[in-house]
């Protein structure tokens, strides 16, 4: 016997619900982007004006955070030597998902002025997925801010998928990392 009780049609699939929730989440995420600044290079000098009254990053809901666990954006500001790359990868893996990478300056793109250095990597892309590059040597503050706004746009368009890419192509990234670094997760250097 068919139930006379009213049952709404369950036409919304689980994937659909998830997507809806994801979009709501995206709204919050793009309006509250917390930075973990990996201030390795000279581009970091552009961040103070971005944060203080001149450009006031906080009006976009952005702000600096102390640890990778809390942060959404890994901000790579400048060149990366092999020694720091290792730590960058470690830090990136510690961040909670979804996580984004913003790279400042030309060094992470192609090595910049350090392109022929044996100790500096040329393409950050090879090791961790980068969502937004801000070119320039160094990029001025407007460019930096613009980069962030671009990231927000990407999140809105669901194209800021670097962290998913990292998952999907983990083997590839890992291979690149190992190729350059030997071993990524080095043994305790200072105490043994």
């Amino acid at each position: 016997m068919k139930s006379t009780k009213f049952t709404p049609e369950r036409n919304i699939s689980k994937a659909e619900t998830d997507r809806k929730w994801w979009e709501i989440g995206d709204f919050f995420r793009r309006n509250s982007l917390w930075l973990l600044m990996y201030c390795t290079g000279c581009c970091a000098i552009e961040l103070p004006p971005a944060m203080t009254s001149a450009y006031d990053m906080e009006r976009l809901g952005m702000g600096p955070m102390a640890t990778p666990r809390q942060a959404d954006i890994l901000l790579v500001s400048g060149y990366l030597s092999l020694k720091t790359l290792r730590r960058l990868i470690y830090t990136y893996e510690q961040m909670s998902e979804p996580r984004y990478v913003v790279a400042l300056g030309s060094c992470p793109i192609n090595g910049g002025i350090y392109h022929d250095s044996h100790a500096v990597i040329n393409q950050l892309d090879q090791y961790v997925p980068v969502d937004v590059y801000v070119a320039g040597c160094m990029p001025n503050t407007e460019a930096v801010m613009n980069g962030f706004v671009d990231l927000m746009e990407q999140i809105k368009n669901k194209s800021a998928n670097g962290w998913k890419k990292y998952h999907d192509n983990y083997e590839w990234y890992r291979q690149n990392q190992i190729q350059s670094l030997g071993e990524v997760d080095v043994h305790d250097e200072f105490h043994d």
Binding site: R29, W34, E58, G61, T67, R69, Q70
Partner: protein
């Protein structure tokens, strides 16, 4: 009085109201501070965005105690907030709003958070907890001496204390016990972890202390917990020293003023070292508190 499920729902409502109120006011305050610093400042609801964003992220967990501590922290704080009277006539559990419940039930939340933080296995977290507890040891004693004076005068029910101050002929305790008011406010700064006493967060020093390992929903829950804690602490000050409130608007007004004042003061201060916090609180606030208590209890001079 008999306790029904309704009381619980009212209590939960108060906790939720407290959360919303404090989160909004915190956002407003960020805006105000931004303006002070010649910035635009964030949107007033930025704090909500932050919290919900955190809740939406995928967090990492360091084991069951890491999660359990967070639950215990939030649960303890919600429970504490449920006892908080909003005005002198509106609260969830009638005369059971004993002052000590707030101090000690608050401690459950703190303990949960400390436990969870230490459970993360990060030394910064332990250091942060150590600093938080040490700060607590510092501000709590002068505060409690003043509270002793107030309770001696007006009883230990928060509603009772409000009604006492609202009764004709009685002043607010801020005026009646002026030294006590000062001490209370300084202690409030310590409780809120505002700037001179913000030693246990110290993001640049110990990587935000107890929070170092949190991200995602745990951090979000801790943020909620923090907002409700602030709500409890500021409300306590309002009820204890500012005569409480007869209706909700006065409460919000007083609340806003107290919180904003504390925030403004904190924004022009640097940070104490942890032992400086202790020596500071055990010097002037404690002396003032003792003097105030002596004046009020033994000499009977209550304005």
């Amino acid at each position: 009085m008999s306790i029904t499920i309704l009381n619980f729902l009212i209590g939960l409502g108060i906790a939720f109201f407290g959360f919303v109120l404090q989160t909004s006011i915190a956002g407003l305050n960020r805006k105000i501070v931004g303006r002070l610093q010649k910035r635009v400042g964030p949107r007033w609801y930025q704090e909500f965005l932050d919290i919900f964003k955190l809740l939406s992220k995928r967090a990492t967990s360091h084991g069951w105690i890491f999660d359990f501590g967070v639950i215990m922290a939030l649960g303890g704080i919600i429970a504490t907030a449920m006892f908080m009277p909003l005005t002198s006539t509106f609260n969830a559990f009638g005369t059971y709003d004993n002052f000590f419940i707030f101090v000690y039930l608050l401690a459950v939340g703190m303990l949960g958070m400390a436990m969870s933080a230490s459970g993360s296995g990060n030394p910064w977290a332990s250091i942060g907890v150590m600093r938080a507890l040490t700060t607590m040891l510092a501000y709590e004693v002068p505060f409690m001496i003043i509270i002793l004076t107030i309770i001696k005068i007006a009883g230990s029910s928060l509603t009772g204390i409000q009604l006492y101050q609202q009764a004709a002929g009685n002043n607010w305790f801020l005026i009646a016990l002026p030294l006590g008011g000062i001490v209370g406010f300084i202690s409030l700064m310590g409780m809120l972890g505002k700037k001179p006493f913000e030693t246990y967060i110290a993001p640049a020093e110990i990587a935000s202390g107890p929070m170092v390992e949190y991200g995602g929903k745990q951090l979000g829950m801790l943020f909620i917990m923090h907002e409700i804690t602030v709500f409890i602490e500021v409300s306590l000050f309002v009820h204890l020293f500012l005569g409480g409130a007869t209706n909700i608007f006065i409460f919000i007004l007083k609340y806003f003023l107290v919180y904003t004042l504390a925030n403004l003061i904190s924004n022009v201060n640097g940070r104490f070292k942890i032992d400086q916090v202790v020596t500071f609180f055990y010097k002037w606030p404690l002396i003032l508190a003792i003097v105030q208590a002596f004046i009020a209890i033994y000499l009977g001079w209550v304005i």
